[in-house]
Symmetry: D2
Amino acid sequence: MADNARPARPALLGQNQYGKAETRVVRITRDGATHHIKDLNVSVSLSGDMDEVHYSGSNANVLPTDTTKNTVYAFAKEYGIESAEQFGIRLARHFVTSQEPIHRARIRIEEYAWERIEHTGEGAHSFVRRGQETRLAQITYDGSSWEVVSGLKDLTVMNSTDSEFWGYAKDRYTTLKEAYDRVLATRVSGRWRFNWTGDEREMPDWDTSYRETKRHLLQAFAETYSLSLQQTLYQMGARIIDHRGEIDEVRFSLPNQHHFLVDLEPFGLENDTADAAVYFAADRPYGLIEATVLRDGCEAKIPADLTNL
Amino acid sequence: MADNARPARPALLGQNQYGKAETRVVRITRDGATHHIKDLNVSVSLSGDMDEVHYSGSNANVLPTDTTKNTVYAFAKEYGIESAEQFGIRLARHFVTSQEPIHRARIRIEEYAWERIEHTGEGAHSFVRRGQETRLAQITYDGSSWEVVSGLKDLTVMNSTDSEFWGYAKDRYTTLKEAYDRVLATRVSGRWRFNWTGDEREMPDWDTSYRETKRHLLQAFAETYSLSLQQTLYQMGARIIDHRGEIDEVRFSLPNQHHFLVDLEPFGLENDTADAAVYFAADRPYGLIEATVLRDGCEAKIPADLTNL
Amino acid sequence: MADNARPARPALLGQNQYGKAETRVVRITRDGATHHIKDLNVSVSLSGDMDEVHYSGSNANVLPTDTTKNTVYAFAKEYGIESAEQFGIRLARHFVTSQEPIHRARIRIEEYAWERIEHTGEGAHSFVRRGQETRLAQITYDGSSWEVVSGLKDLTVMNSTDSEFWGYAKDRYTTLKEAYDRVLATRVSGRWRFNWTGDEREMPDWDTSYRETKRHLLQAFAETYSLSLQQTLYQMGARIIDHRGEIDEVRFSLPNQHHFLVDLEPFGLENDTADAAVYFAADRPYGLIEATVLRDGCEAKIPADLTNL
Amino acid sequence: MADNARPARPALLGQNQYGKAETRVVRITRDGATHHIKDLNVSVSLSGDMDEVHYSGSNANVLPTDTTKNTVYAFAKEYGIESAEQFGIRLARHFVTSQEPIHRARIRIEEYAWERIEHTGEGAHSFVRRGQETRLAQITYDGSSWEVVSGLKDLTVMNSTDSEFWGYAKDRYTTLKEAYDRVLATRVSGRWRFNWTGDEREMPDWDTSYRETKRHLLQAFAETYSLSLQQTLYQMGARIIDHRGEIDEVRFSLPNQHHFLVDLEPFGLENDTADAAVYFAADRPYGLIEATVLRDGCEAKIPADLTNL
């Protein structure tokens, strides 16, 4: 900060970032009558030598957010979108290397998946949105080092058995009954950090990595006989660390979507799990289990709160 | 209405209905280690001899909404959930036949689909929510006749070509350029009414009907070379009427999810559809195309507005 | 429909409508340094001679939805926005009278209220959005007659006492305990239809009418000692009919936002209403009470379902 | 972590926290016929000696999330809710001091404001939800030191003039035209950290602090002639630092809710700001401006991302 920028008051500027959020870019590529879609929501955050714009309103160092939006569209045309991660890397490098006052760029991307509609007509240019999880990518570049964090949100999973919860601490406010066969359901929000940090190392194959990481977390969820959602969370993260050498850190935020056995005794009905059981799927409140799983010797960098509650 | 119920003021009671909305019931059935899920959101609406509760607050004719909720859970246990439609029929019949003051019951159901997580562990009791469309069913019974309307919402589809829009009316406020190769995308909201109206006729196979109806509407969307979204809508409805004899009426509400070609000329880039094109996916405003397609000779009964805008 | 338009298949076109939904228009008027805001969300729906666009894709009768959007903006500039209702009337008349194939126009408007930020600086051009209810207006014109329905949504109200619920019907699924002092809370969705139907009659003062109608419904909610939410609903509607001669019909959709007394006995605490009571505010399920209140001798025209559940 | 807990695999547990999220508690206090409401959404997050539950599923150290929910309700009854901050302090102290394995508690609270319905009936127990901003409080306690961060979200404000944007950096992707009289609108999300850190110091008056802080940020927004949203943000934060000695740090996340002047030239209309101007209120994309303002000499502790985009 130039001395003349510093205000004669006790209030000083701290960390700051700006950019255009949620630019919705769709790129359609034609291979004859066969088309391909990439459908992204791109948010750009830039930081750097930005004291003056805050203190005096001088925009001399400010590349407009409108320009960052234009850049997203132009790059989608010029360079294509091989993967969300590669697209983000290209954008981040551009902002940091082309604008001297910008020292750091963070690109966040949501990707929506489409699958083909099966039909007997000509061509292959009809699609239906999968609608399951949203794929996430975050790329941060400070001019020398890279951090890539991928992830997903809104992947809802359920085990209808093989889950227990007992042996917990009790105090005067504890009324919960121990459970030996319960439903375990959650809407997975996960992020995983790659150990790729620079241009000289070979990049992971981002799409393969995503597909396999999602497969591992789903299988770990399915195959873990669970004594607590924390245990399941750890198994999901550990399985990724075990199998995906390109990933050093995983963080999950898992709301425990409670399915309560309905009390049907007043109606002369036994609602146990022997044959068929009826549950009330509750909205709020819900348990919220959050943790990082880390490769031995690595440092945790993913922030604690993936959601705001 | 008893005469003594009628208030000595000019304000009279008109159509009314009440019940418990959005009871979230999940039923899990065990076939050994293989489990099956039905996941519903059930809303009950009852009408009948309800003047007194409005005029004087006497609840003598009011079965509490809490009871309608309990009934949903108890019936899920006692009778199972073969399909949303059959479950709704059972509920509607129960309320109308068991409570003298209740003359009409309407059951609305949302159904969420789950698919199995593929894994190598034992058992088949792990699921991931499909997350694509939400299946809908509405069952209405007045003591003598049935109306079943099924449908879906939030099924997002896109044709990346084979869509044009030109030759339209123009006035002094028209600036739109004609389009000869555009993206056509929409989030389908549809309802279809069955001609089954009573107990003596054989019921349709509700699940087969749903699966085939969805297939037909997707294929009609994909295979129609479109000159307007209205034309596509008609083809989607007509194909259902042509192929599904159990359905007499279809209504669609189709928001035109505009994908605008981004103007990249200022950056020296030609953004045409020859090879690869970049679009801005807009949120609001959006065209909204709504219409009924009807079997010749049948009467339209599905209300005009599937959404509230 | 021209005979040649009718398709050689059993599927015929029924009711249909189209237009641009959710055009977000903000108009700011300057009276020196004092500014005024109107902030609307306008949805246009047009109907008429539209068979060909559905059957063959001919757009000759179709004024583009893009044009209806442009018209909203142009009219906001040319004629101003005196009230949502008057703005809608102007738009509806324009579409029906200027485009021969269009026989009916329906304009739906949401209006967001802003209040001034109190401060000591110069000028009066700083605002904060009120954020309470959303005001609604719907104007329908078929070339000869008008229908104006105004309303509101998302007005959340609560009586913390003076509400009971007992004496209701019971069956084998009834477990609810009678309540003699409960919380009554709801998120009001209401619509009211004016008896103004044509140009020759003097229009109501729409803003005064809205303000007074909202006041009456709030006061009726507050002043009714309630034995059921249906009774409260009727009192709210009847008070409007009693006091607002320009209104012939009112419809409410009132979700019963249950506040359950928490059972604190396990902790040795008596949670009664004598002094201070603690409630769990539930999300789902909820009772849903819907009814029309009508001026004696008038016909009901507002559709039954204000919401889609 | 006990040595036997550490798994024989490279995946280790990192930061973790758990608890019940979004417990919706409403407390109604009676002062004769005058009632008072506190309406909160409380989320509890606990951390501590939790390795075993992740590694082996042993719940011995886990106080159930159900118990944390019960505690919220019981404390609301036993101790009342003077303010969100004091309620959170009481809860945090309880969890850390009563459960040996729990070393840190973080309580997040949303508070919804209600105002009285004016009416002529007896009593004062009828309320309407204000519906403007949501008040926020976060209390963190690690057994020795306290951190209290308060804030708000969804406070939407607009200046209809006194905002410019020009003199910015330009590159080949810049097309934005400079603006000398634009609308500046944003939906304020803010957090402010108190310098109160322990029991021995006198606590701030939380409600007065909230009311005054909100007033200062609104007035700074209104009274700043803005050359950039960053400048406005700094003024909002600096004014709080200047006037509220109990606050050391403020962070804002301000989406720039673009209001674009509509091009009405094609319709022969001049849409300038001289008299009355018509704007399109855009949804996405939007500029997102985020920064911390800090008291000189203090350390920043509020995380960078208040929202997840």
